[in-house]
Amino acid sequence: MSVLSIKTRIIKNIQDNLNLGSIKRLLHTISNKPVLALYGSSIKSITDKYLNIYTIRNLNEVYSGKYPVAFGSLFLPYELIIGLGLKPFLPEIMGGFTAGLGISGRTIKAASNNWYSSDLCTFHRSAAGACEMDLFPKPSFIVCSNLACDAAGKSFQNFSRKYNIEKNFYFIDVPHDDDGASLSFLSKQLENIFYEVSGKLNKKPDIEKLKKTINCSNDFRKFAIQANNIRKELYDYPQYFNGLNYILPFFGLSGTKETVNLYKIMTGELQEKLLKQDKNKKMKKVLWMHLKPYYRNEIFNILEKNNCRVVFEETSNVFWDELDPDKPFKSLAKKMLSNPLRGNGENRIKAVQQIAALYDIDGIIMFSHWGCRQSNGLSRLIKESFNKKSIPVLVLDGDCVDINNCPAGQIKTRVEGFAEILNSI
């Protein structure tokens, strides 16, 4: 059986039986070794195979009810969550999954029926709808921050009410500035969460476990940097290496051994591809900013057909320094503060300018996801900053989750038109 047909059957099963019990049973069934082996056997890339299997296993654990689950927003230091022995679950990423599974129409509608405004981004709306439909596992804790996304604090607070765990809702206030006072303020918040959650779990605070998690995160960071370095030379690789497919391990599972393995495998596979690469083949190098549509779409195929390749993504940037396991809270606070999406827009512009120079970028596609003001608000300055360097920027208005808010024909014309511009330079 091909991977496509297995995937199609899984998706159809979820679409036809959209309830928590069915999702649990399905995850349990496909997590069985023989089924996973069959599923994995038809995936050619070992990295893609590992990612798929790892994601299924992780979701099965989260849904199993055997472990305490923490909902978290995208840019948390997940080393803290994993170090506490909690299973992270990222509703925003699951919002993206609903698009891939073809159920976002239903989840978005459920959110609408429960007073979520159509002005709210669909990662949040779809997650909120899934929450209202009881499609998510019940969390024990909810942790979120205001880093980049202001909506997370509000959406996630609603989730805490839905699950009746308002006392286990933690909001991390990430300051605007990166200075000593901000570091202390943020570090103290992380430390408080660690000790308070440990207490609520009736566990002695296990700093050694947190240190191990941080060491794992450092190992992942090392391999991610290696992979990124290889990508500076590599342009001819399949789409599954697109970093936008690795958001869950890169952010939500940093600090697990599996993520270290994933990036170790990726580094090896990319190195092999680099050695085999046809050096005479030249493509236009595109940097992708923000996220991508997670439903089936043709954007990346259109780029490939038109001699363009996304060679790097803003989300693949290893922006943080190595963490110090002996100063876990300070290190994790530093990681949060060094995120280019924090504070002034100049931080983000500077970061993407550096990436563009490192990867010898020919053009930028900035996906302007509906309702994501932290990103879209900066589009003019981003465009102007690159235009000064004669690098074309396509601000592609669309929606990462709601296919009905992203007409395929219009997207095709814009992407093809942009590719034609890049190829004419």
Binding site: N405, T413, G417, I421
Partner: protein, 261 residues
């Protein structure tokens, strides 16, 4: 060599045949403009046949065909598809070599294209969002609501001094607003003046985002409406260049680019 460009838009389809010599000098042999209707494939075929007939050529005498416009992918007999952005840019710069900014207002989309002064190739563009406001379709709906022939809008705009502001951007809401204005006894001429300014405002907003640089060319079926052209000129403060037939620039560019295949 003989080449053909076919531009399949949402409202109209244009086919244009060129005779291109070795120095890449060109001569327009014929063109046809027809309604696209519900079947874009048939419209492409029909317009091609009409253009062939006018040029007194057979199908097999055409060396290359390029299809453009939203329906470009369905033209099976085309050698290549190129977007309307590149084709419009090519067509306009053939007619007006110094043009820097192109405003194209079609049936269901409007776009602004910026041309590089040196290479004469497009370097930036912006298209309207998923909404018919500021396009030909918007005008058609309003003409029907007002029960006034769309062809008279230009003359009415130029001869009317006062206007009423149309505040709704959405075509459906604007239609309701107009019905309400008519109900209040507001003169239709003032409504038309307001409508045309509202379209011009949307176009100016797009031009501002891409960055206004003269000379500016206006193309697309809506360019035939003298009222729209005047309103845009007034708002931009620049004189617009308008091709002799503003609907064919996409097909012209496509035909010329076919000569480079």
């Amino acid at each position: 060599m003989y080449t053909c460009g076919i531009d399949i838009g949402s409202v109209s389809t244009e086919a244009l045949i060129l005779d291109i010599d070795e120095r890449k000098d060109y001569k327009i042999l014929s063109y046809a403009i027809i309604k696209t209707g519900s079947d874009s494939k048939t419209a492409a075929e029909k317009s091609f046949k009409m253009a062939l007939s006018e040029a007194k050529l057979n199908r097999n005498e055409i060396n290359y065909i390029v299809a453009t416009g939203y329906g470009r992918v369905i033209v099976e007999f085309a050698n290549k598809n190129i977007t309307e952005i590149t084709c419009h840019a090519s067509g306009v710069t053939l007619l007006f070599p110094d043009i820097i900014t192109i405003i194209d207002i079609g049936g269901q989309d409007s776009k602004v294209i910026k041309i590089d002064r040196t290479s004469k190739k497009p370097i930036d563009f912006l298209m309207n969002d998923k909404c018919a406001a500021g396009t030909g379709r918007f005008l058609e709906v309003m003409a029907k609501t007002l029960e006034i022939n769309l062809e008279n809008f230009g003359e009415i705009f130029l001869s009317t001094k006062e206007k009423v502001d149309i505040t709704s951007t959405c075509t459906v809401f604007a239609e309701s607003e107009i019905v309400s204005l008519i109900g209040r006894g507001v003169a239709k001429e003032k409504i038309i003046k307001g409508l045309i300014y509202s379209i011009a405002d949307r176009i100016i907003s797009m031009v501002s985002r891409v960055g206004l640089e003269a000379p500016v060319c206006l193309t697309g079926g809506v360019a035939k409406n003298s009222g729209i052209a005047s309103a845009i000129e007034e708002k931009l403060g620049v004189k617009l260049q308008i091709p002799f037939e503003p609907q064919i620039t996409g097909a012209l560019g496509a035909a010329y680019l076919a000569g480079k295949i």
